[in-house]
Symmetry: C2
Subunit: 517 residues, 2 copies
C-alpha cells in the first residue's frame, strides 16, 4: 500500500464550482445528446442531424476562402497587446457599428471592450453591474445560456420573468416585468438590470420602437441597467423575403459595390439608434453586446464586444478584469482585417442574408406542408415552432399504454427525435412556459436540412399514427427543475415568476397570439 492510500481525501472543490457543474443548462444537455453522434455527410451519414444549435454553416466556403488569406501577422501581434482588445480591432468595430447600427451618438473605440465571445461580454456586464445575489431580469423565453452568462463567476442571479401568455413584442408585457420587480422588492432582491436579445433569441423577431421605448421607460422608472444583446443584428433577412427563392438564393447584386443600406431592414432598431434615448432613460443605464459568431458565421472565433458608450464607471468596470476575457492577438488581427475590409464585409453579410432568407422560406414550406405553427422569423438562424399537438398526442398515447402521462411531453418528443437522428432544441431550454415549443435552426446546407426535416416529419407522422415506441425520459424532472425554480440565495439562478409549484400551475388556455399557422 502506498502512502496515498492512507492520506485523507483531498478537500472538495468549491461549492460554487460544484453548483455550476451540477446545474448544466438544459440547452447544453440537449447539445451534448447531439454531440454523442453528430451527422456528417460522408463520415457519419446515420448520425444525428443538427437542427438545434444556432450555427450558420451557409457561408462556410466563403469563410474558408477568405480567412486563411486574411492573417497578416505583425511584430506587434506577438506581444501582450491590450487585454481589452487592440485599438485597431476596437476602431474597426466602432466603424462597423456606426455603419450598420445607426447609433444616435457615434460609437468610439474607447467605448468597447473586446472579449473572448459574447458570453464573456455578458458575464463581464453581470460582474460589473451586480453584487453577489443581485439580479438581472430576463423575459421568457430567452436564450438559455444567459443563465450561466449572468450568474456563473459573478454570483448574480438571472431571474426569469414569465409573461403568462403575453408576447414580449407587445407593450403590455411590461406589466409582467413590473410584477416581477414588485416581487423582487418584496423579497429583498436587488435588481440591477435587465437583459434582452434583439433580434430575439429564440423568437427570431425584432422589438418595435414602441416596445423598446416602453422597456427603457420601465428601466428608467426603477433606475436599472439595460443590456441589449444585438448579436444577430446583421443576420436580418425579412427585407429579402419577397424576392427570395426558397430553392436557390438570388445574388443579383454587384459584389464589388454592395450598398450598405441593402443590409438594413426597418424591423431592427438598435438600442443605440433611438434619437430620444436621453428623454426615455439616463443613457448611463444603456449597454450593448455584440460579437462575431453569428453575423460572421464563426461561432468558434470567440470574439465578443461589451459596449458602454455613456457610462465611464461601467466602461472602466467592463475593462477591469479584461485579462480573463483576453482575445488572442491572432484572432484580434484576423477580425480587424475582416472588419476593415468593408467591401468584402458588405458582400459577405448581404450574401448571408439572402441565403438565410432562402433557407428560412424552404423550412416554412415544409412546416406549412406539415401544418406546423410557427412564429414568422425576421432574423437569426432559427425559428420558434409549435409542436404542442404532437405533445398532446404523446400524452394520450402514453396514458393509453401505461396509464402514466409524462410531465414534460416535449422531452419525450425530443428523445424520440434524437432516437431518430435529428436534434432540435426544446423550449424548456429557453425557459418557456408553453408546452411543445421548439427552436428549429435552418442555417445549414440544403442536404443536411432536407435530411433533418425528413427525419422530423417521419417521427411526427409516426406519433400521429401511434406507430412509435415512446418512453418517459428518466431525466425529465431534472430538465424541468433546471429550467425553472432555484432559490438558494448564494445561487445564481432563480425564477421569481415561478413560485407556484408546477403541479398547481393552471394549464394555459392558448399559446401566445403571435404564433400563427
Amino acid at each position: 500500500m502506498t502512502a496515498a492510500h492512507r492520506a485523507p481525501p483531498p478537500p472538495p472543490i468549491s461549492k460554487r464550482m460544484q453548483r455550476d457543474i451540477d446545474d448544466p443548462i438544459p440547452l447544453k444537455k440537449g447539445v451534448l445528446r447531439f454531440l454523442e453522434d453528430p451527422y456528417h455527410k460522408t463520415k457519419n451519414p446515420n448520425g444525428i442531424v443538427n437542427l438545434g444549435v444556432a450555427e450558420n454553416t451557409l457561408m462556410a466556403d466563403e469563410l474558408l476562402d477568405k480567412l486563411p488569406k486574411s492573417l497578416h501577422m505583425e511584430y506587434e501581434d506577438l506581444g501582450y497587446g491590450r487585454p481589452n482588445g487592440s485599438v485597431r480591432l476596437r476602431t474597426a468595430l466602432a466603424n462597423f457599428i456606426n455603419a450598420h447600427f445607426n447609433p444616435a451618438t457615434p460609437i468610439k473605440a474607447d467605448h468597447i471592450v473586446a472579449t473572448n465571445g459574447a458570453c464573456a461580454a455578458i458575464n463581464t456586464f453581470s460582474y460589473t453591474l451586480c453584487n453577489p445575489g443581485d439580479a438581472m431580469l430576463i423575459t421568457a423565453p430567452y436564450y438559455g445560456a444567459f443563465d450561466p452568462d449572468v450568474s456563473h463567476k459573478s454570483g448574480a442571479r438571472a431571474i426569469t420573468v414569465n409573461l403568462n401568455g403575453r408576447s414580449p413584442f407587445e407593450v403590455d408585457h411590461i406589466e409582467a416585468l413590473e410584477q416581477c420587480m414588485s416581487k423582487c422588492q418584496a423579497e429583498g432582491i436587488i435588481v440591477k438590470g435587465m437583459i434582452l436579445s434583439n433580434p430575439h433569441n429564440p423568437l427570431a423577431r425584432c422589438y418595435s420602437r414602441e416596445v423598446l421605448e416602453a422597456l427603457l421607460k420601465f428601466a428608467s422608472k426603477h433606475n436599472i441597467h439595460v443590456v441589449s444583446d444585438e448579436i444577430y443584428a446583421l443576420s436580418l433577412f425579412d427585407h429579402h423575403l419577397n424576392d427570395a427563392d426558397a430553392e436557390e438564393p438570388q445574388f443579383t447584386f454587384d459584389a464589388d459595390n454592395v450598398d450598405p443600406s441593402s443590409l438594413h431592414s426597418s424591423s431592427f432598431i438598435s438600442m443605440l439608434a433611438l434619437p430620444n434615448l436621453v428623454e426615455l432613460i439616463n443613457p448611463e443605464l444603456v449597454h450593448i453586446v455584440y460579437g462575431m459568431s453569428k453575423d460572421f458565421c464563426i461561432n468558434g472565433l470567440r470574439v465578443g464586444f461589451a459596449i458602454s458608450p455613456f457610462n465611464s464607471a461601467v466602461l472602466e468596470g467592463i475593462g477591469g478584469n479584461a485579462e480573463f476575457s483576453w482575445v488572442s492577438s491572432i484572432t484580434d488581427s484576423l477580425c480587424s482585417t475582416i472588419l476593415e475590409d468593408t467591401k468584402w464585409t458588405n458582400w459577405f453579410l448581404l450574401r448571408n442574408q439572402k441565403k438565410l432568407a432562402a433557407s428560412y422560406l424552404r423550412t416554412c414550406k415544409v412546416l406549412d406542408h406539415l401544418n406546423i405553427s410557427y412564429l414568422p422569423a425576421q432574423a437569426g438562424h432559427f425559428m420558434w415552432i409549435d409542436l404542442k399537438p404532437y405533445c398532446d398526442k404523446i400524452k394520450d398515447l402514453l396514458m393509453e399504454r401505461s396509464g402514466e402521462a409524462p410531465k414534460i411531453p416535449s422531452q419525450t418528443l425530443f428523445n424520440a427525435l434524437i432516437e431518430h437522428k435529428v436534434y432540435i432544441a426544446f423550449g424548456e431550454a429557453f425557459h418557456t412556459e408553453e408546452i411543445g415549443r421548439f427552436r428549429l435552426s435552418y442555417s445549414m446546407n440544403k442536404d443536411a436540412q432536407e435530411l433533418g426535416l425528413m427525419r422530423m416529419e417521419q417521427v411526427l407522422k409516426c406519433i400521429t399514427s401511434g406507430d412509435i415506441e415512446l418512453s418517459i425520459s428518466p431525466d425529465e424532472e431534472d430538465i424541468y427543475k433546471l429550467s425553472k425554480t432555484l432559490d438558494d440565495v448564494c445561487l445564481v439562478e432563480a425564477t421569481v415568476g415561478e413560485m407556484i409549484p408546477q403541479n398547481e400551475r393552471p394549464e394555459k388556455k392558448k399559446g401566445p397570439q403571435c404564433i400563427v399557422s
Copy 2:
C-alpha cells in the same frame, strides 16, 4: 434640460469590481508607465526601452515566418468546437508534455483544459479549489499578477508568505510556510493550496528535487493543493551557458534533427516528473499550469493549460466554466499545427534557448562591469538584480537635499529610470521585502538591449555622482500599500506575514544569501 438631468445617478458598479479596479497590481502600474511612450527603433527612438516585461522578442522573425503559413482552417474550425479546447490541441499538448516534462505518469488529453492564457488557468484553479475567502499561499517574491489571477472573480485570497531573508530554493524556507499556515489557522482562514512557479518568476531559477519534495510534504501534511506554474519549462538555458557566445549565439546543430534531450537540463524538474510522488503526497492534490506565451515567445497568443492528471473532481471543475476561458478556434488550430510539428518545435525551442543564453550572458557582462549583484539565472526571460546600493545613495541624497528620506527608495530609482527612458520592473511588484531588487529582462534584440542598459548605466552613474534630480514619487505610499497588506475579508489579497505596520518593521540586515555579485 433633458430628462436625464433630472434622473437619479445610476447605481454604482459592483463592490468587487470597484475593488478590482482600485487595486491595480504594482506590476501593471509599472507597465502602464512604460506604455505611455514605448521605444521603437525607427518610429520612437526616444521612447522608453522595455527591460521590464517578460516578453521574448528574440524569435520574432522565426515566428512571423512560421505562423501565417501554419493556419490551415477546416470546416470544423468555424463551429463552436469545445470550450475546453479541441481534442486535437489537447492531444498535441499532452504529447508535448510527455516529450519534455518527463512525467512519471503519462499525461492524456483528458487531463487538460485549454484556457485563454495561463492567467485564466490559474484563475480557474482558484475558483475551483477555493470558496470565497479561502486562501492560496505564495512565497515571496512572486509574479505579481498571481494576486489578481488567484483573487479576482474567484473571491479567494492570495497570501504572501514572506521568507524573512531565507531563499525559496532552500528547504528551510518551509518553516516560513509553516508559520504562515499557523497564523492562517489562528485567524480562521482556510488555506486550500499553494502556488509556485518553476522555473521561478522573478528569480529565474529552478527548484531542486529536495525542495520540491519538502514542499509536497508540507502540502501533504496540511492536505492542501499545490499548483505548479511551469510556463517557463522550456525557456531553460543553463545547459548552454558553457558554450554560449554572448556576442553571437551558436546554432551548430542540425535543424532537421534536433535531439529533444538537448532541450532538457537537469536543473528543471517538473512536479509531474517525481517518480515517488505518491509517497510524498496524495497526487490528487497536485496540478500544473502551462501556456504558449513564454516558451513559444507569443504573449499575445493567449493559450494556457490547466492540467490535473490525478483528480477527477478538480478536472471536472476546471472544465466547468470553460466557456469563459474559451480559446478561439483559429488560435486553437494554429497552436495544434505548431505543437504537432515536433521537428520545427524542437528546432525553435533549442534556437530560443541558445539565444536566451547568449542574451543573458551579454547582460551579465554589463552588470559585472557595473559591479551590480544578481542571482544567476537558469531559465526565463529575466534576472533578479540588486540595486540596493543605489537606493541607499538616493536616500542619502534626498536626506541631504530635503531632509526627507523616501520610504521606498526603489520607487524613486524606478521613476528616475523611467524619466531617462528605460523601464525595469521594481521588486515591490513581486512582493519582495528586500530593498532595491529589480527584475531585469534580457529577451529582446541586441540593439534595444544595449540602448536600455546604456540608459540604465547613465542613471546609476549620475546617482553615484549625485548629479541627478530626484523626487519622492507621490504614489510611493500607494505602491507600497498595494504590494503589502489588505485585509478586507471579502477581499482577495491579504498578507499574513506582514502584520507588523511597516514603520515598526525591523530593517533587514542583509539580502538573501542566494544573491551573489
